[in-house]
C-alpha cells in the first residue's frame, strides 16, 4: 500500500489549498448564519399577501377563508395560472390559494384538497401551507356524523395561534431551510474547487513523465498501482465531503430534524461522486499544475454561478440555465432548492448527476487510451 500511503502524504503536503478553501467556506457559512437569523426575525413580524379563490363556497371553505384572512392580508386575484404566476413573480402576492368545488369531500377523504401557488424565493411563503394544514387537521378531528364543528375549530385555532405558531418550529423551519440550501449549494462549489485542485495536483506529481517511467519499469503491476491511486482519491474525497456533512450537523445540531436532511446528504454524495469522475477526466487530459489550478477555479466558480449557487436559479436567464444544464451542478442545486416529500421526488436530478459521472468516466478512459498510444 505504498502508493496509497504516499498519495495521501502528498495530498497532505498540499494542505494549504485545502485550508484556504475550507476557511473561505466557513467564513461564508458563519456570515450567512447571522443573515438567516435576521431573516427569521423579520419574518415573525410580517403578514403575507395572499389571494384566495373559492370555488366551493361551503361552510367549511368559508371558515378556512376567514381564518386565513385573520392571519394575512388579502389581495385580489383571478383563476388563471399565468396571471397568478405573474402576480407572484411581481411580488403582488406571496401566495394564492385555490379551493376546489369538491373541497368538503376531499377533506373528508383526507386527499390533497387545496392548490397553493407560492413564492419559493420567500421562505415565509411556506407559512401559508402550515396554516392550511393546521386548519384542515383541526377540521378533521371535529368531523362527526357528516358535520364539521367549525366553532370548535375556530376556537382551537385561536388558542393555538397564541401558544404555538409564532415562536416555534415550523416558522423557524423555513429560515433553517434557507441555511441548509445555502450551506449545501456552497459545499458544491467548494467540492468542485477542492477535488480538482488537490487531487489534480497530487496526480500531476504521480503522472509526471519521469516519475511515471520509474513506476513503469518497476515490478508494480499497473492494475495494482491504479487500485491504490483510486483508493487514495476516494479516501481523500470522502474525507472532504464527510467533513462538510459533519460540520453542517455541528452548526445546526437538532435543527437537522426540521429539514429533509437525508436529501441534502444523498445529493451531496452523488454530486461529489460526479465531480470525482470529472477530476478523473481532467487528470487524463492534462498534468500541468497551472492548467489544473486554473480549471479548478474556472469550473467551480463558473458552473456555480450559472447553476444558481451564488444567485437563485429563478433570477438567471433561460439561456444561462440552458447552458448550466450541461453540468451536474445545475441538478445538484435543483435538489437543494426543492421541497420534497420523499427521496423519489429527486430521482431525475440524481439520475442526471450520475449520468454525468458516467460520461466523465468514459471520456476520461478515452483520453487515457490516447495517452498510452502516444507512448
Amino acid at each position: 500500500m505504498t502508493v496509497f500511503k504516499y498519495f495521501l502524504k502528498i495530498a497532505i503536503k498540499n494542505r494549504w489549498i485545502i485550508i484556504m478553501y475550507v476557511t473561505i467556506f466557513f467564513v461564508m457559512t458563519v456570515l450567512n448564519s447571522n443573515d438567516a437569523v435576521k431573516r427569521e426575525e423579520s419574518f415573525v413580524e410580517s403578514k403575507l399577501n395572499i389571494g384566495i379563490i373559492d370555488n366551493c363556497n361551503s361552510e367549511l371553505s368559508n371558515s378556512l377563508k376567514d381564518y386565513l384572512k385573520d392571519e394575512n392580508n388579502i389581495v385580489d386575484t383571478v383563476e388563471d395560472e399565468d396571471y397568478i404566476k405573474e402576480q407572484i413573480f411581481l411580488e403582488v402576492a406571496d401566495a394564492v390559494v385555490i379551493i376546489p368545488e369538491d373541497f368538503d369531500e376531499k377533506v373528508i377523504r383526507r386527499e390533497e384538497s387545496v392548490l397553493v401557488y407560492k413564492d419559493d424565493r420567500k421562505p415565509q411563503s411556506i407559512q401559508i401551507e402550515n396554516q392550511i394544514n393546521k386548519f384542515l387537521a383541526f377540521a378533521n378531528i371535529t368531523y362527526e356524523n357528516g358535520n364539521f364543528a367549525l366553532k370548535d375549530v375556530a376556537e382551537a385555532l385561536n388558542e393555538s395561534v397564541e401558544v404555538h405558531v409564532l415562536p416555534s418550529g415550523e416558522i423557524e423551519g423555513s429560515g433553517i431551510n434557507t441555511w441548509f440550501k445555502f450551506y449545501f449549494n456552497f459545499t458544491g462549489y467548494v467540492t468542485i474547487a477542492l477535488y480538482i485542485a488537490v487531487i489534480g495536483v497530487v496526480m500531476s506529481d504521480f503522472r509526471d513523465e519521469n516519475i511515471d517511467s520509474r513506476r513503469r519499469i518497476s515490478s508494480k503491476r499497473f492494475l495494482e498501482f491504479n487500485r491504490e491511486i483510486y483508493l487514495g482519491q476516494l479516501t481523500l474525497a470522502s474525507a472532504v465531503t464527510i467533513t462538510f456533512i459533519i460540520a453542517s450537523i455541528i452548526f445546526m445540531r437538532e435543527n437537522i430534524w426540521n429539514v429533509y436532511f437525508l436529501k441534502y446528504v444523498v445529493n451531496l454524495i452523488v454530486f461529489s461522486f460526479s465531480i470525482l469522475c470529472l477530476t478523473f477526466l481532467i487528470n487524463n487530459i492534462t498534468r500541468n499544475k497551472h492548467a489544473i489550478t486554473a480549471l479548478s477555479t474556472v469550473l467551480s466558480l463558473g458552473t456555480s454561478f450559472i447553476s444558481g449557487v451564488m444567485v437563485p436559479q429563478e433570477i438567471l436567464g433561460d439561456k444561462v440555465l440552458a447552458v448550466a444544464k450541461f453540468f451536474p451542478t445545475y441538478y445538484f442545486v435543483r435538489v437543494n432548492e426543492s421541497m420534497i416529500n420523499s427521496l423519489s421526488d429527486i430521482g431525475f436530478d440524481i439520475f442526471m448527476q450520475l449520468l454525468f459521472a458516467v460520461a466523465f468516466l468514459l471520456l476520461g478512459l478515452i483520453f487515457s487510451r490516447k495517452d498510452l498510444l502516444v507512448q
Binding site: 505504498t2 502508493v3 502528498i10 506529481d205 519521469n210 516519475i211 517511467s213 520509474r214 518497476s218
Partner: protein
C-alpha cells in the same frame, strides 16, 4: 559468463528520425558495460527500449533469457534504472522518495526499511534524509536519483549518464559507488559520452553512433583495432616549414597535425618510434621545448572509426 541482455537488430523510429538503426548489444553477468557515444546517438533510446518503456519497430530484446515486455514483472523485479534526468517527487523528502520507489518493488515493511537505510548509507545522504529535493545541490540530487534506482537491490542496473553536470567530488563518489555495486555482484550498464569515465570504469565498451553499434570490446581490444598506436607531441624553439614537412619521412608516421607550436605526430605500431623521432631532431639540429608520448585514447578509436571527434 552468462549473457543476461541480448539486443538484436533493433530499429526505433521517432516519426521521421531513426533513433536506433539495427542496434545490437549484449550484456554479460557481472560486468560493467559502457555504452559510449556522442549526444543524441541513441543511448537513452536504447535503454528505454530494453526496459520496455518504449516500443520499437523491429528486432528482438531478451533480458535474463526471456523476451522483455511491459508485463514481464518477474524480470523487472531484478532491474534498476538510474534515469538521465533526476526523477523524484519534489513534494517528498529524500527518505520518503527512496521509500516510495522501494515500495514499488518491496511490500514487506521491515525489509523495505532495511533497504532504504542501506541505500541512504550507500549514497551517503544520511545528513539530508529530511531535505526536500529542491534544497539539495546538483550533486546530492544525483545521488538521490541513484538511491531511488538501486534501493531494491537489482541484479542488473542501467545508469544513464549519472555524472552529467556534477562537480568533480560528487563524480568520483558516484564512480566509486558504481564499482562498489559491481563488487556486490550487480551487473551495470553505464551510458556516457565521457571517454575517460568509460575507460577507467568499464570492463567492456560498446561504442555507438547515429543509432548504430560501431564496435564493442575491452578498452585494450578497441585500441588494438586501430592503426594509430602512439602519439608524440613535440614543440620546437623554431623550425623551418621545409624541415617540418620532412618529418613525414620518419618511419611509421601516419599523420602530423599542427596545433599552434605543437606538432602531434601519429605513429602506427612500431617499437622505435620515439628514438626515430629523436634521431631526426639531432640530425636537423633542432631544439625542442617539450616532448612527450601519448598512448591512444578511446577518442582516437572513435575518431578513426567514425571520422568524428568524441569530445564534450
Amino acid at each position: 559468463m552468462r549473457m543476461i541482455v541480448k539486443v538484436k537488430n533493433v530499429v526505433k523510429r521517432y516519426s521521421e528520425k531513426i533513433a536506433l538503426d539495427h542496434f545490437n548489444m549484449e550484456v554479460y553477468e557481472g560486468e560493467i558495460l559502457g555504452l559510449l557515444g556522442p549526444n543524441g546517438c541513441g543511448k537513452t533510446t536504447a535503454i528505454n527500449c530494453i526496459l520496455s518503456l518504449l516500443s520499437f519497430d523491429k528486432g528482438e530484446i531478451e533480458v535474463f533469457g526471456k523476451k522483455m515486455t511491459p508485463n514481464s514483472y518477474d524480470i523487472k523485479r531484478q532491474i534498476g534504472l538510474v534515469p538521465q534526468e533526476v526523477s523524484v517527487f519534489e513534494n517528498l523528502t529524500v527518505r520518503e522518495n527512496i521509500d516510495y520507489f522501494c515500495g514499488l518493488y518491496v511490500d514487506d515493511k521491515n525489509v523495505r526499511k532495511r533497504y532504504v537505510d542501506e541505500a541512504i548509507e550507500f549514497v551517503d545522504l544520511k545528513d539530508y534524509v529530511k531535505f526536500y529535493p529542491k534544497k539539495l545541490s546538483g550533486g546530492l540530487k544525483r545521488r538521490l536519483n541513484i538511491a531511488c534506482g538501486i534501493v531494491h537491490k537489482p541484479k542488473l542496473i542501467f545508469m544513464d549518464e549519472p555524472t552529467v553536470a556534477v562537480d568533480a567530488q560528487s563524480r568520483n563518489f558516484i564512480l566509486e559507488g558504481i564499482k562498489r555495486l559491481n563488487g556486490e555482484s550487480s551487473t551495470v550498464v553505464y551510458t556516457t559520452h565521457y571517454l575517460e569515465e568509460a575507460e577507467m570504469l568499464c570492463s567492456r565498451i560498446v561504442i555507438m553512433d547515429n543509432g548504430k553499434d560501431i564496435v564493442s570490446g575491452t578498452t585494450e581490444e578497441l585500441k588494438a583495432m586501430i592503426t594509430t598506436s602512439e602519439k608524440i607531441v613535440v614543440s620546437f624553439v623554431s623550425i623551418e616549414d621545409s624541415v617540418a614537412s620532412l618529418m613525414k619521412g620518419i618511419p611509421h608516421v601516419i599523420d602530423i597535425e599542427r596545433n599552434g607550436e605543437d606538432f602531434i605526430i601519429k605513429f602506427e605500431n612500431g617499437i622505435n618510434n620515439l628514438s626515430n623521432l629523436l634521431s631526426f631532431i639531432t640530425e636537423h639540429n633542432l631544439t625542442y621545448t617539450k616532448l612527450y608520448s601519448k598512448l591512444p585514447t578511446l577518442n582516437d578509436v572513435f575518431l578513426e572509426l567514425t571520422g568524428k571527434e568524441l569530445r564534450d
